[in-house]
Structures are given as structure tokens and as C-alpha cells.
């Protein structure tokens, strides 16, 4: 017999934190049909929301799907029950991070490098951001050709520009609700 971990309070917690009425979903699967990245998700958007309703927390928080949603809002525009899945997926990522589930390493590394860059300069400096991303993700060699092409076109600047209000921007980082913004 397999033991299935079910947490009934999970669906309510997701609903409250995301502000989206996930309990209203009746599994028509319109969201999955229109989701541009469903084809690479382990659970399709409608399956994720179903698992949330069923309290299958562990399955949901360890899924790849929560790291692949790009927030394109196609589902939220089309759902007959006016459920936006993008904020639900955001919430699931926050929960996964807080509870120590392993994020998708590449996706996480990219977001992390991006936020670090803003904290340093106030804006994103692509070149140093990409270097940090390459190190964090341990994916050193993909896309080098494309990067070089962009440099040759003068589309990637070498030197970052720091805004005057960078200390103010750093202050904004101090109390992120997942604590993620506060990482060093």
C-alpha cells in the first residue's frame, strides 16, 4: 500500500495567499490547452490546480511545472471561472522555497542572478548578470555563440551603470515576504 500525503489545509492556504479562487476550478482543462509551456510541464496547469484542491502538497511543491509557468496570463484570460493561474504558480514557488523544496536549478539561478544585479546597480546589467547565471547554473557553454553575436552587434554593454538611488532600491529588498530578496 502506498501512503499518499494529503494536506487538506493546503488548498485553502494557496487560495488565500494567491488571492485566486482555486477551489472554484471544475477541471475543464482550458488552461492546459492554451498554456504555451504545458508541453514541458510534468503536470499540466489544470492538473496542478487539481492536485492543489486535493491537498497533494508534496507532489505540487516538488513539481517542475511550478518553475516553468512564465506568467503569460493566457489561462487567466480564458478560464470560465476567472481563475488566474499565474499568481497561483507564484504562490506555489514561494511555498516551495520556504519549505525547502528544491527549485529547478536553471530557472532559479536565472531569477537569482537577475535580482542580484538589480540590487547591485538598480538596473539589470546583462553581462555580469549572465556571468553570475552561468556560474550558478553550472551551465558555462550554452549560448556563447548567441552572446557573442549580441556583443558584436553592440547590444550588450560591458560596463554597468549604477543609479543614484541604489541605496533606496536596496532598502526595498530588506523585507521580502519569502526572504528571497534578502539573500546575499
Amino acid at each position: 500500500m502506498t501512503v499518499v500525503a494529503i494536506e487538506p489545509s493546503f488548498s485553502r492556504a494557496v487560495q488565500e495567499r494567491s488571492g485566486e479562487p482555486v477551489l472554484r476550478c471544475y477541471f475543464c482543462q482550458k488552461c492546459s490547452a492554451g498554456c504555451p509551456v504545458a508541453f514541458v510541464m510534468d503536470y499540466k496547469p489544470a492538473q496542478v490546480i487539481r492536485l492543489v484542491q486535493l491537498g497533494r502538497k508534496e507532489k505540487v511543491l516538488s513539481s517542475s511545472a511550478i518553475w516553468l509557468c512564465v506568467g503569460c496570463e493566457a489561462c487567466g484570460t480564458r478560464c470560465p471561472n476567472h481563475i488566474r493561474l499565474a499568481p497561483m504558480f507564484d504562490t506555489l514557488r514561494y511555498m516551495a522555497l520556504e519549505e525547502g523544496y528544491k527549485p529547478d536549478p536553471m530557472v532559479y539561478a536565472l531569477h537569482r542572478s537577475f535580482l542580484d544585479s538589480i540590487r547591485l546597480w538598480g538596473r539589470v546589467h546583462e553581462l555580469s548578470m549572465l556571468m553570475e547565471y552561468k556560474l550558478l547554473s553550472r551551465d558555462l557553454f550554452s549560448d556563447l555563440g548567441m552572446g557573442l553575436g549580441l556583443i558584436l552587434k553592440g547590444k550588450i554593454s560591458f560596463l554597468p551603470e549604477r543609479i543614484r538611488g541604489v541605496s533606496e532600491v536596496r532598502r526595498l529588498y530588506q523585507k521580502g515576504d519569502t526572504g528571497e530578496g534578502g539573500h546575499q
Binding site: 512564465v70 503569460c72 538596473r123 547590444k155 532598502r171
Partner: protein, 280 residues
């Protein structure tokens, strides 16, 4: 018309031709863009992926900066536009949060400036009229697939200035330039966005499909309004016959006969010159 211009991080770098063409066509139309002093990055999808509070706070600082002059904020990047718009809605509707931000950033929220996208302001009826008058070199015979991407027009509760499933404002602008908008059903399909680096295969699949569909619909070029759409489609088409991807402002510049277009074309990975030279 004068706006507080929030260019966003890509305008000076990977979307440099978007920035240059925006400056040029706005000047030609008498639309004044005063860059928002000391703006910061909106946090893009990275902030809302990892930290909800930060995703609201970063763009809120830009809203704060715009309160003094009271000018509407205009952003060329759909993601910047959406994040600043959402922060503004939060400031408007959540009094406790507004007070916290006002204390943290030292400003007074007046709620006066509205947050708008560049395509929205450049497709208002009176601007379209001005565009028609300004065209000196109609883009006759150029078939354009207008590509809106994902968050430019949705969710409709936030944006509301064009149809979220069948938007038409960019098509109308293209028609005003003398071009021929083509019908296709992928206008609002996402390109894969930030997965471009972390899951490039996904973006190759999505971009190639968009490019393929545009060509099957008979388009010579794709027009877009987003730096990320443009770079994804410009670098990730895995097709034998590739289709050039231009910012809508670049096509405006061409139809206005502005100097400098050659410089913009030179920034593209897929050279648009062979197609554009046939036009007119």
C-alpha cells in the same frame, strides 16, 4: 503630449533599436518623452517568481518618481508596463501598503499619473490620424503579422485598451502606415519569455512555431512591441527560411522616411533589409 518615459533595462542594450526608433518616431509626431529621473528595474519575472513583496516594491519606486511631475508614465516594454501598472493598482487600492511605501520611499501618492504602454498611446485615434499625415513613404505591399505576445493586452482587467484575444490596434497602425496586416491566430501566443536562457529548447519550439505560422499566413515581417519577444524570435527561429522581426516603431520610422533606419536594421540578427528594400 508629454509623458514620463520609463524605458526599462532592455532599451539601452538588447533592444537598442527599439529605443532609437521610439525616440525618433515620437519626435516626428511631437510626442514628448521626458525620461523618468533615476528609474530602477521593475524586477521583471524574476521578482514575482521569487518574492511577491519585492515584485511590488521595485516598480512602486518608479510610480513614486512619477508623482512629482504628474505626467502619465509610458513604457515600451510590456513586462515593465504590467509590473508598474500592478504596483500602481496596489498603491491605489491598499491604503496601509501605500502608507508603508510612502514612508519607505519618501513621497506622496497623488494617483494622478496613469501607467500606459507605448503602443497604447501611439494608437489613440488622434495619433493614428497624425501618423497618416506623417507618412511619406507608405509601406505598400509589405505584409505584416502583428505580434502582441503575452502581457501587453492581458489580463484584460488590468490593461483594457485592446481585445485580449484578438487585439487590433497594432494592425490598425500598420494599415495607417500603408502596410497590409495579415490575419493569423498566434497574435497573443507567448514566446516563452525568460525561459530563453534557462530552457532555450522551449523558446526555440515556440519561436519557430510563431515564425512558421506568420509565414504561412503570408507575412513578410513580424511586428512586435516587446524587447524580449523580439530577441527570442530574432535569435531562436530554427527554420530554413527565417522571417525578420521588427519593432512597430521601426516600421513607423521607415514609413515616415526618417534618417537612421539603416542603423536600426544593422542591429538585427535576421537582416530585414532584403525584405524592406522591396517596399514602397
Amino acid at each position: 503630449m508629454k509623458y514620463a518615459y520609463y524605458p526599462g533595462c532592455t532599451i539601452g542594450t538588447t533592444a537598442v533599436e527599439f529605443g532609437l526608433s521610439t525616440d525618433a518616431v515620437c519626435e516626428a509626431l511631437g510626442v514628448e518623452l521626458a525620461e523618468l529621473e533615476d528609474w530602477n528595474c521593475c524586477g521583471a519575472s524574476s521578482a514575482h517568481s521569487l518574492d511577491h513583496e519585492l515584485a511590488l516594491r521595485l516598480p512602486a519606486r518608479n510610480v513614486a518618481l512619477a508623482q512629482k511631475d504628474g505626467l502619465d508614465i509610458v513604457a515600451p516594454c510590456p513586462a515593465c508596463y504590467q509590473h508598474v501598472l500592478v504596483a500602481d493598482m496596489k498603491l491605489r487600492g491598499d491604503l496601509a501598503w501605500r502608507q508603508e511605501m510612502e514612508a519607505l520611499l519618501g513621497f506622496t501618492y497623488t494617483g494622478q499619473p496613469r501607467v500606459r504602454h507605448l503602443l497604447e498611446v501611439l494608437t489613440e485615434p488622434e495619433v493614428i490620424e497624425a501618423v497618416r499625415r506623417r507618412v511619406t513613404r507608405p509601406l505598400k505591399g509589405l505584409r505584416v503579422a502583428s505580434y502582441y505576445g503575452c502581457v501587453l493586452v492581458r489580463p484584460p482587467e488590468f490593461t483594457g485598451w485592446d481585445d485580449p484575444e484578438h487585439p487590433t490596434r497594432m494592425d490598425r497602425l500598420m494599415a495607417a502606415l500603408g502596410a497590409e496586416p495579415v490575419e493569423w491566430s498566434y497574435k497573443v501566443d507567448c514566446c516563452g519569455a525568460s525561459l530563453s536562457l534557462s530552457r532555450s529548447g522551449v523558446v526555440v519550439t515556440l519561436s519557430s512555431r510563431l515564425a512558421q505560422e506568420a509565414q504561412e499566413a503570408g507575412a513578410d515581417v513580424i511586428a512586435c512591441a516587446c524587447g524580449m519577444c523580439q530577441i527570442n524570435l530574432d535569435t531562436r527561429q530554427n527554420l530554413e527560411k527565417k522571417i525578420p522581426v521588427l519593432y512597430f516603431t521601426e516600421l513607423m520610422g521607415l514609413a515616415f522616411g526618417l534618417p537612421g533606419v539603416e542603423k536600426w536594421w544593422g542591429k538585427h540578427m535576421i537582416d530585414p533589409r532584403p525584405v524592406l528594400q522591396r517596399v514602397g
